[in-house]
Structure formats: C-alpha cells, structure tokens
C-alpha cells in the first residue's frame, strides 16, 4: 500500500467519542435489525442477524469497550465488516461520515489510558482543517477479542 497516500476511514460515534475504521474493511452499513441472541457465546457477541439470507454474527461494541448498555436509537447502525473469509456486524451508536486521513496525521497512543483496551487502537488521527480527532481502530483485533480468539 502506498504510505504517502491518504486513507479513508468510516467515522462512527460511541459515547460521544469518534472512532474510525478503514473503509476498505467496511462492506456495508445497515439499519438496526432484529438480532437473535446466541446462548453461551462470548459476552461481546450480541447475537446473529440475517443479512440477505446469510447468517452473520453481530458484536456489541459497547460491551467490548466496557461502556454502559444503551437503548437503540434512530441512529443506531450495524456496520458490516469484511473479514478474511466472513462478515461480522458491529453495533455502533451513530455513523457520522467518511474522512480522508493523512498517515502523517496519525499519532501513536501508547501513553493514553482509558476504558478501552489499547490494543484495539492503531492511533489517533487528526483532520487537518478542523479540530476533529478520530481514534482509529484495529478491527481485526476487535473481532478477535470479541470472539475470544488468541486469548
């Protein structure tokens, strides 16, 4: 991948914080649908949903980030991520926009502390014209932890 070129990120909101996931891995964004709970699955798994005839698992990002449960709102969306050979849905509070972020504008975050496990975070991206700050997420790690892989 060309390092100097800008990358596009889908920016979504969780508890008023902005997060970004590389647009390359986002298949589609769906409105909230009915989700069937799967017993004995990991805590962060909300259940499974029907995406055009395919059954795909859905992660509750709030549970993964140790945030409080929240009722669905009209903004609640399911972001469908494309993993290597499967699709995975993520419930997010709100999807805001798609942003171009220059790799030079991404800072490492090793010194930051917070509720969110720092291994999920690639860095913090700043948008040049504007004072927006976006926490960029490593979605692969996110999915791994959610399903309890490589623990």
């Amino acid at each position: 991948m060309d390092i100097t070129s800008k990358q596009q990120y889908v920016v979504f909101e969780m508890d008023k914080q902005n997060f970004g996931i590389n647009i390359q891995s986002v298949q589609i964004i769906e409105r909230m649908k009915s989700i069937m709970r799967v017993p004995k699955s990991h805590l962060a798994i909300r259940g499974v949903m029907n995406l055009r005839g395919e059954i795909i698992p859905v992660i509750d990002i709030r549970r993964l980030f140790n945030m409080d449960e929240l009722e669905n709102t009209e903004f609640t969306r399911i972001m469908i991520l494309r993993m290597e050979d499967a699709l995975v849905g993520c419930i997010v509070d709100k999807v805001n926009e798609v942003l171009d972020i220059d790799p030079n504008q991404i800072e490492a975050t090793s010194t930051m502390h917070g509720k969110i496990d720092s291994s999920y975070i690639i860095g913090v991206g700043k948008v040049i014209d504007g004072d927006e700050i976006v926490t960029l997420l490593n979605h692969e790690r996110l999915v791994e932890v959610a399903f309890g892989i490589n623990e």
């Binding site: 649908k33 009915s34 799967v38 004995k40 699955s41 059954i55 698992p57 499967a86 399903f147």
Partner: protein, 705 residues
Amino acid sequence: MDMSQYLQIFIEESKDNLQSLNENLLLLESEPDSEQVINDIFRVAHTLKGMAGTMGFVKMQHLTHSIENVLSEIRNGKLHVTSDMVDILFQCLDALENYVDQIIKTSAEGQEEYKELLVQLEAILKGNFAPAAATAPVEAAPTPSSNDGESAYVLPAEVEYIKKQAIDAGLNVYKINVLLASTCMLKAARAFIVFSDLEDMGDIILAEPNAQEIEEEKFDQEFMVVVTTGESVERVKEVIMAVAEVDGVTVEELILRASSEEETKEETKEETKEAAQAQDQGQGPQPAEVQPEKQHTPPPASAPPASAPPASAPPAAGKTNVAGKSVRVNIDRLDTLMNLVSELIIVKTQLEGISGGDVQTNSETNYSDSVEYLERVTTSLHDAVMKVRMVPVESVFNRFPRMLRDVSRKLGKNIDLIMSGEETELDRTVIDEIGDPLIHLLRNAADHGLETTKERKEVEKPDKGTIHLRAYQDGNSVVIEVEDDGRGIDVNRIKQKALDRGDIPREVVENMTDQEIMDLLFRPSFSMAQKITDLSGRGVGLDVVKSKIIALGGNVEVATELGKGSKFRVRLPLTLAIIQALMVNISSEKYAIPLNNIQNIENINSSQIKLVQNQEVIVLRNQVIPVVRLDTILELPSSDKDDLIVVVVRKGEKQVGFVVDSLIGQQEIVIKPLGKYLNNIHMIAGATILGNGEVALILDINTLV
C-alpha cells in the same frame, strides 16, 4: 446428419442403461436361472446397441452386439452362467462405460476396440472359454473402478496407441519420473520448464498428474511424463537435470507390449537412491512420500485418458466436458416450481396495476398485500429450487454392489453388502464429491477390515463377511456409515506405531484416549509407515478421505471393537439442506428442533417431575426419562409454570425430555451455518431464517442429549 443435439440424451440414457445392466448382471449371478432377469438384461443391451448404432458409435455398437450374442445363448439355455463369464461381461460393461466417458469428453468414442474382450466373448460363444485367461484383460483395459494402483504402469488406451505409432515411426518412448527438490518453492514453474524442455526434444503424450493439476501445483515433489522423442536416454536425463531444483530423474524406455521392466529396473533403483539422498540433505519433511517402493505415486485415477496426440486434438487440460452436469428432478417438484413462477407473474401483474394508477381500489392496502404475497412466493420459490438440487444418495450407492463384487472376487473373500437409507437426500454438490471417499472406505473395509474366509472360520464367524452401508439423516447432518464385522482395529498397535514414529511426544501419546488414538489413522502419511512395518495396513490413504470430507464441511470418525469389526462414520452437514423442524418458544425466543429427533410430545404437570440423584426425571409409560429445562441451558429466565410441555427426543438408545414453553408448529426450514466465528457453540447446530426475516437457532439434539 447432426447428432449433437441428441448427445446429451444418449449419454444420460446410456449411463442409466449401463447401471441397470450392472445391477441385473449382479442379480443374474445370484439367480442364474431367472428368465425375467436375463430378459431384462437382453432388452437393455439391445436398446444400448440400437442407440449406439444410431449415434454412429460403431465400436460401441460392435461390442454391445457381441455381448448380446452371448446373452442370447444364455437365454436360449445353451450357455450356463458362471462367475468367470459374469466377470467378462462386467469387463465389457466397463469397456462400454469407458466409451461413454470418452464420448462425454470428446463426443467421439475413441480408438480402443477392446479386441481381447471381443475374443473372449467369442470364446464363450464357442464354448471353449478358458477361465484362466479371464484375468488378463483386467489389466489391459483400465477401468474406472479398478484403479487401485497396480495398473499404474498400464497406459491409457489412447496413449498406448500413440506409443505404438511412435515406436513404429522409429522414435523412442520414455517414461520419465521427475523429482523436485523439497525446498522448491515454485513447483509449477519448475515443472513447466521441464515440460517445455521436453517439448523441444519431442512430444509429451501423457503426464501424471495431468497438465492442469501440475499447473495448479496439485502434486508432491514428483511427477511423471511419457514422451516420444528421437533423443537418447542420457540426453533426456541431462536436459532435465540441468533444470534448477530438480533432484532426481528416472528415465525408462517403454517398449511395445511386453514392457522391459527387467532392463530398466536397475537404472530406476540407482536414480531413486540418488533422489533419496538428495531428500535426506533437504531434511525431507515427508519421508513417506519418497520411498523408492512407491513407484506409482499419483493414483492412476488421475491418469488422464484425455491426453491425446499433441497435434491432432486440442489439449484436454482445462477443457470442459462436452456434456454438462445434470440433475434428475421429480416432476412433482418441477410442478411446484412452475406453480410458484406463475404466482410470481400474478404478483407482478398486481403490482403493475397499482403503479399504473388504478385508483378504484384502496391502493394502500393493495400494495402491502401484494408485497406480502410476493414475499411468500419468493420464500417458497427459494425452498423449491433448493429441493430441486437435492439428490438421493442412491445415485452414489448404486454402483457399490458391483464394485464390491469385483473386490470380493479379487480378494477371494465372501462379502455381503447391505445398504440402507438410499433415499436420504443430499445436495448435488455433495453427492458429486462423496463417491470417492466412500469407495475408499468400502475397499478398506473389504480388504483390511474383513478377515479371509479361513480366518473367519477359525474365530467361528460366519464365512460370509458383512459390510453395512447406511445413510440416514441425523439432526442437521447426513450420516453415512460403513461398518464391517471383521477383525477390528487394534488401538495398542496404532499407539505403538505413533510412539515409534516419534513425531508426537511420548507423554502426549500416553495420555490420549482411545478415540484420539484412532484419529491418528487419519493423519497424513501415517498409513504409509504402517505399511512398511507390515502392520495391518489399515488406513492407507485415510488422510485423503478425511481431507475430502472436511472440505465438504463434514467429519469422519471411526469406532472399533477388536475382533468384532469397525465402523467408519461420515457426517456431512446439510449446509443447503432443508429439514422438517418443530418450532418452539422458549421464554421469549424461538428455537427449532429437528423433527426426526422427536419421539413424542407430552403435556405434564410440574408435580410429575421427580428428582433422582439430583437429576429431574419423569416417568412415561413405565420409562424413566431425564428432563432438561431448556430455558436454564440456554441462559434464559426460567418459568415456574405448572403445566409443562415436554418434547421427548431420542438419540440412539437414549431418551431425554426437553421442557419448552409453547409449541409453534411444524415447519420446513433451511439450515444455515453460524459461520466460523461461532462454530464452537456446540448446542446450536445452525440457524434458519423465518418467514419474517428473523433468525431462529436450531438446537443440536446430539450434543444436548
């Protein structure tokens, strides 16, 4: 006259006719005096002959005609049916099958005339048929069903023909085995260089594995080619050794008919030694793969009979068959499909009417009605199309009796094959793939599982060995079992073998359960080692069986009892399968229970539940049945109702009652997998999409019982 439009029909019907000939011939052998059977055979053979003649397949017609002559004599009572005679007739059927295969590939019947078979049929007619000669043509005419490795040196008929021509033209024909270095990364590329070098010197008439497989790197370190060239053995060797990362080459000159094995053997040995050394240096990760004994590495099943003279015919690799795949469909299912499509058209018209501004009626309700209707129709349509794809396993099973007859004749064992559940349906794609693994398991059972007749007498078993082949639907999978009543597998010997090999630490092996040890049989190259140390030989190529079944999303297990027999159980998931299920409510959620697991449904009062050793049970018709509260297991809030509904399911001998909150009803559901991230949740076998688009989970009764 152009016959190509009839080709598909011809192929389909010929296959059917051959299958029915095979079946009837088996019958004839067991009841040689049945007039009905011989008449049936005669009639079918006659049809086949007529069709082949109409299509202009002269050789095929000729062979069928000769068969017919023999049959006619049998019918007239002039000949008496013997097993040797049936052998010959079966070989003729194989030959006919080869013709059909050839026709499928090239729409021509090929060059082979099966003269030996014709001669033998003639001999039978004349009454001077010598059974001793009967075994000879088995080797001469390689059949799809007799590919067990011994025939590796026998070239396919067309290649044999080209070879003859080349030798007549004064060229040399070499069989060349090339061994690539184990460190070689781009095997396909190296092989390609070897190929192009060889093509500079002459023509490649056969490659094993075939060109396409080599291109896709579907081979181990070694491959074989047969070339015609004017160059000497030394020169060919020199050229190939000049290619980088080639570790060893054996060149063997092929001479007409009586192959010069004696002459070439020495050379072969010398070369493979060299190869083995090279392998040692390269620390050989797969020692079993390069054993010098293993001359016929690639299974001859892949011997491409399609390789044709390079100039006259297009290369067979990558070429699709002339005739496509087809599925036979019950006319009822097609009618359903047809009805649904006409309903679809009605909906379309309705919707057109609405958008066309037909305002006389309340268009609002009309629209939603139509959409709802459309939804129903499409769901049913989906189901119907899925059903069309389902094929009974019978289509795979029906060639096994014949195959086992051949095997039992060859091994001199008396074997009974008992099949059941042929009507069990599987998706077409699975059906196509499952044949080979099953053949392997059946052969294993016949060859290694069952004892010889003598041994059986000694242990006081009936002379006749029995192999059961069963298919049945078990919850959300189809299970196919191959069970023999032979000698069983000795767990301790496998254990010892594993220890001897030493690639698994001793303490791991020591702590393995019997089941885990049995699973070692499926490890790659485990079997090879077994063969060398002259163990039972059981398990040759079981790793191939396993990998194939896993590729289909299934698994295979083995159960055995020493001295009593062993059972291989292949479990195939019904990824596309449709099952009947009982939909139930548990707390606020909906679940599906596969109907074929369900024994009965009972209304009971909570006071009827008793505690036995801390386990809740109910007594039903004098049987004590443990009760499982599904809401607790599924981590749902439990209800404290007095009137309970208990769904009693059965798995084998065991019965368990599941407490559910209410019943919704019976429904046909399409099983969908939960995907790789959730496949570790054992009590859920999959999910299904309900009519309203919501998801319901399917309970896996097997793990819950």
